[in-house]
Point group: C2
Chain length 397, copies 2
């Protein structure tokens, strides 16, 4: 009975009392009362049980987790942040694998079971960061699943040789191709999009493009990405991360773009920016766009914020979007859970019998309360094993 876990005195998202029996990493039984003969129960003290959170946009390679506090040093522009990061990264006293692992522990204690991370690749770095993250992924495979994006932080065309390294990254195990501001960074929308869509089609992988470019410039890039997605037959496999422009432009201009994204199966991933426009995520969801959520940079040279909590992220999405009703707050939670699982292609996600036993418990009454208060998770289970309690990581390091 080594592999069994029997949790009692829980409540599901609808408030019903439930017990859960886990065997061999799966939910073996769930109900008001389950047959768990021979397995000693763990009292959930009436906590809410929810499936693992999903973080669809991270930068595991950049985080300084585990290092002494790093006072933000970059200027307010993107170029200064890229340059500052390059200056400091070689001198760091912890490896990418160690820092990524430290951040993974923060994600895990907050109930995140699945994530997608962008990883810088360029001719200077080569595959070093990718290899570090893959090492951390292996070490924490009992605690989280990690999807990787080969990310051209410094541009594709403006940083010659990057495309070759991106292709090497795919051969080395990266799951998707990234992109970044084809206009703002490369100054050549067609050039960057042709390059990454052709490479993605060649290797049969998806694409996830950082798009910070605002206003009309960004909107034109969204239209171009939608067009390429259809031309390359990549419906359902392309995501735009950020897409601040969708919240910048007039609603009348955004609406047809959003329809086009929905039609072409182009997803949006938001981190609920604080200082710029957030895309109209509810309208996008209602129009059929797959919307997911991610923490983006956590404690790195770009941004000091965050502790890896996707419920706090859902709160920020709700706060920026003026969500107040339970259905709206549940939608913010959806972006940080099932919508992310769908985007990442997590198989057997959920709390039904037969699903992967990836879930957490939280001392709140409803999902809406979990979003707005996001107190420490009382228990986190991944692949059928308890890996964190009350904010403390208990898994293997």
């Amino acid at each position: 009975m080594d592999d069994a876990l029997y949790l009692t005195n829980l409540r599901d998202a609808k408030g019903a009392a439930v017990e859960i029996l886990v065997r061999e990493g799966r939910i073996a039984a769930k109900g008001k009362s389950v047959d768990a003969e021979g397995v000693s129960g763990i009292d959930g003290h009436g906590a809410l049980v929810l499936p693992a959170l999903v973080d669809s946009h991270l930068h595991l390679d950049k985080s300084l987790a585990g290092l002494p506090w790093y006072p933000h040093a970059a200027g307010p522009d993107r170029k200064s942040r890229i340059d500052t990061e390059k200056q400091m990264r070689d001198g760091l006293p912890l490896s990418v694998a160690a820092r990524a692992g430290n951040l993974i522990e923060r994600l895990v204690v907050h109930g995140t079971g699945h994530c997608r991370t962008h990883i810088d690749v360029d001719p200077e770095l080569g595959l070093a960061s990718l290899e570090g993250v893959l090492e951390a992924r292996e070490r924490y495979s009992h605690a989280i699943t990690v999807q990787t994006v080969a990310f051209p932080q410094s541009g594709v065309l403006t940083c010659p040789g990057t495309l070759d390294v991106m292709e090497e990254a795919l051969r080395a195990g990266a799951d998707l191709l990234g992109g970044i501001d084809p206009a703002g960074i490369d100054g050549d929308v067609d050039g960057q999009l042709d390059a990454i869509f052709n490479l993605a089609e060649k290797h049969g992988v998806g694409i996830d493009i950082h798009l910070h470019d605002g206003g009309e410039t960004g909107a034109a890039e969204v239209a171009a990405i939608v067009e390429r997605t259809k031309v390359h037959g990549m419906q359902g496999r392309v995501a735009i991360s950020h897409g601040f422009c969708l919240g910048d432009i007039a609603e009348s201009a955004a609406a047809p773009l959003i329809e086009a994204m929905a039609g072409a199966g182009v997803a949006n991933i938001t981190h609920a920016p604080g200082g710029t426009s957030i895309p109209p995520v509810k309208q996008m969801h209602e129009a059929g766009v797959a919307v997911a959520a991610g923490n983006d940079g956590i404690r790195d040279s770009w941004c000091p914020y965050g502790d890896g909590d996707m419920l706090e992220r859902a709160m920020l999405i709700g706060w920026r979007s003026n969500f107040r009703t339970d259905p709206d707050l549940e939608l913010a939670h959806h972006f940080a859970s099932r919508a992310g699982a769908d985007l990442l292609g997590v198989a057997n996600y959920g709390l039904d019998v037969g699903c992967r036993a990836d879930f957490f418990t939280i001392p709140t009454e409803t999902v809406a309360e979990a979003v707005v208060r996001h107190p420490p998770r009382s228990l986190v289970v991944h692949a059928g094993h308890i890996i964190a309690r009350n904010g403390i990581y208990e898994g293997r390091a």
Copy 2:
């Protein structure tokens, strides 16, 4: 030695190792090593020690804290929120005093030691809510100090008889007079401002006005409040809560208004709104405006958000203001601590020897990290007594 408290192994905001000895509610000694003969020490485990947080804008009377989860029911407009609240408040199964007390416990576990709350007064309610909050204030006087504002939620002129009840409220112990959108609610800027400024001058109390009105309308009201403040000689005793308009209008229009606020000693209190503009708080601080912060409504019929944490509120202020450097994050913390104490007139605030022993400890390395991560407070001390540990209230109820 009953009243002594000796805390070891702490670090101050500058990172220096400190011990603190508390006697009779005051900081009796502080330093790398203090003489605490006969008092057994409590190990702080290297946590940061900071003076009590200050919440400068609350609605203790409105909170549903301690009741089952309440799904938000009001429509998206202010009138619907006012009406919804009136419909539900009579049928609540917990008194104002009980709900306010429950919320106070949430504030306290997050390290807040001082607060200012608005309390609805109108001819229908009379002083019932004020009396309930004053009862809670008395019951929790060992845990927090509470300043009260007689708040005309439904308007002053549009709700005849309110001004009389506001005056009764002052006689019954309210500390300040409130106001609300003289244009948007009363439709008579001069009428409402004359009424409350005359009453405030008569009783020698300060004023704290809710100003949600945006754009040019709000800006004209800011100018009118500044003007009245000077005419009535109330410099340093008037605050504008919210003041979203200061973030709405062009910088060139906001700058002279901000200068005028600074010149007249008119403060601003922000809760970092998510769905509308935040005032340019850093620019205002640099121009000499006293800026403080508050949680505003917590778990009430207006807004489901919040758990009483002023460090999370400081994070939201920083997030909305694009603060990233340590000095900027420390400024967000300042709004939620010393700036609030100055606004509320808290005597002997701080961690110097002789100060009131109102402080908390938090397992972070720096103030900036405390803002961005805001983990549970390990220890909360008020008036020299431990009242909460690791997010659990331990004071008397």
